[in-house]
């Protein structure tokens, strides 16, 4: 059953039939929710008891952290699917995630740094959380370089897939870094057990996370479609060269 479900999308043509109309929906819903949440967050949330207005950078910082880490989780899952099931779209999706994932990891680091200066009194410290997040960004750069250097256009090499799986070790480390080690960064505000963020910030934060996530999905679909188109062009060129 699950195999049939998975292989229904093995055919790129079928995937493209769904991805094409889905892309603008994700894109415009994502843009609308993101803009709405950010405006809501900046102009219609109260100042925080200690941080004042600097708290409002949370509406970009947290979604960026979520997508930076979620992106690599996606790469790791796609890499396993690629290596085990040889699903033709797995490698394409892993590569499509890499650049947006790296971008959001960078946004997380930059907004965190901007937030750290007024609240902590420093742009950067080498504590467990900040360091492991920086390592994630470097892993993305390594993955992008490796997959570009070792792959045919569009498709992903097995070396890159193995790298994608190994790099996933860092994800639980980022998550646990503030629990395992004393750190400058505070502990998780949102856990499975609940949230220590007041409703006034939590609701727009969830809207923002949803908006950025839809945007991320749209970017990944666009990049997958581009990669598939490139593969088709390449295949056609090869056929033409054979004649």
């Amino acid at each position: 059953m699950h195999r049939r479900l998975m292989h229904r999308f093995a055919n790129p043509a079928r995937f493209l039939r769904i991805a094409k109309p889905l892309t603008p929906w994700l894109l415009w819903m994502g843009i609308a929710l993101t803009l709405g949440a950010c405006l809501w967050g900046v102009f219609f949330t109260p100042t925080e008891r200690l941080m004042g207005d600097t708290v409002k950078i949370i509406f970009v910082h947290v979604p960026a952290a979520w997508l930076g880490m979620g992106g690599w989780t996606g790469i790791a899952i796609a890499s396993i699917v690629q290596l085990v099931w040889r699903h033709p779209l797995a490698g394409v999706s892993a590569r499509a995630i890499a650049v947006p994932g790296a971008t959001f990891a960078a946004i997380c680091l930059i907004t965190g740094s901007i937030w750290g200066r007024p609240t902590w009194g420093t742009w950067w410290v080498w504590d467990g959380r900040l360091t492991s997040m920086l390592v994630l960004f470097f892993l993305y750069l390594g993955y992008i370089a490796l997959s570009n250097a070792s792959s045919e256009k569009g498709d992903t090499s097995r070396v890159a897939a193995v790298f994608g799986i190994i790099g996933a070790v860092n994800i639980p480390i980022i998550n646990r870094s503030v629990i395992w080690w004393e750190s400058q960064h505070q502990k998780a505000s949102i856990t499975l057990g609940g949230s220590s963020i007041d409703q006034a910030y939590l609701v727009p934060l969830f809207v923002s996370v949803a908006g950025f996530s839809l945007l991320f999905g749209a970017l990944v679909l666009m990049r997958m479609r581009t990669a598939l188109a490139e593969m088709r062009i390449e295949a056609r060129m090869r056929r033409m060269a054979d004649y």
């Binding site: 008891r49 941080m51 007024p118 902590w120 190994i166 004393e182 505070q186 505000s189 007041d198």
Partner: protein
Amino acid sequence: MKPKHQRLLLAVIAVFALIGAGLIAAAALREEASYFYTPTTLASANVAPGKAIRLGGMVQKGSIVRAPDGVSIIFTVQDKDKTQKVAYRGITPDLFVEGSGVVADGRLGADGIFIADSLLAKHDENYVPKELADIDMNSAEHTKDTLSK
């Protein structure tokens, strides 16, 4: 066994090995990767006076004493069990308030007082609108304990 199942088995083994290796490494780093000592870990660590270290914890309520010169302060950092006196000379961060977190760079003096060269404020994981916090800006109320242990 079909080749696909072989690959699946290999992938499962690899993932478990990776998780195991990660956990072992993290456990080994437990002390080394902590960004600062808390008063409790400092008390049991036998750190030599003069050695550069970091100390973190909560600024004890009512402990900040400002010297007449205006820039020197003495305060107490506490965690759940122990306290540590800290002396600092300089401008404190905006979020440096009693009842909130602090991370101090410095060293232990011969008299047991921690001499801080720089102070960083440590925010906790609670985000509370100003009007909901029935406290003034010089004191933070905490519903959750920010220190582990």
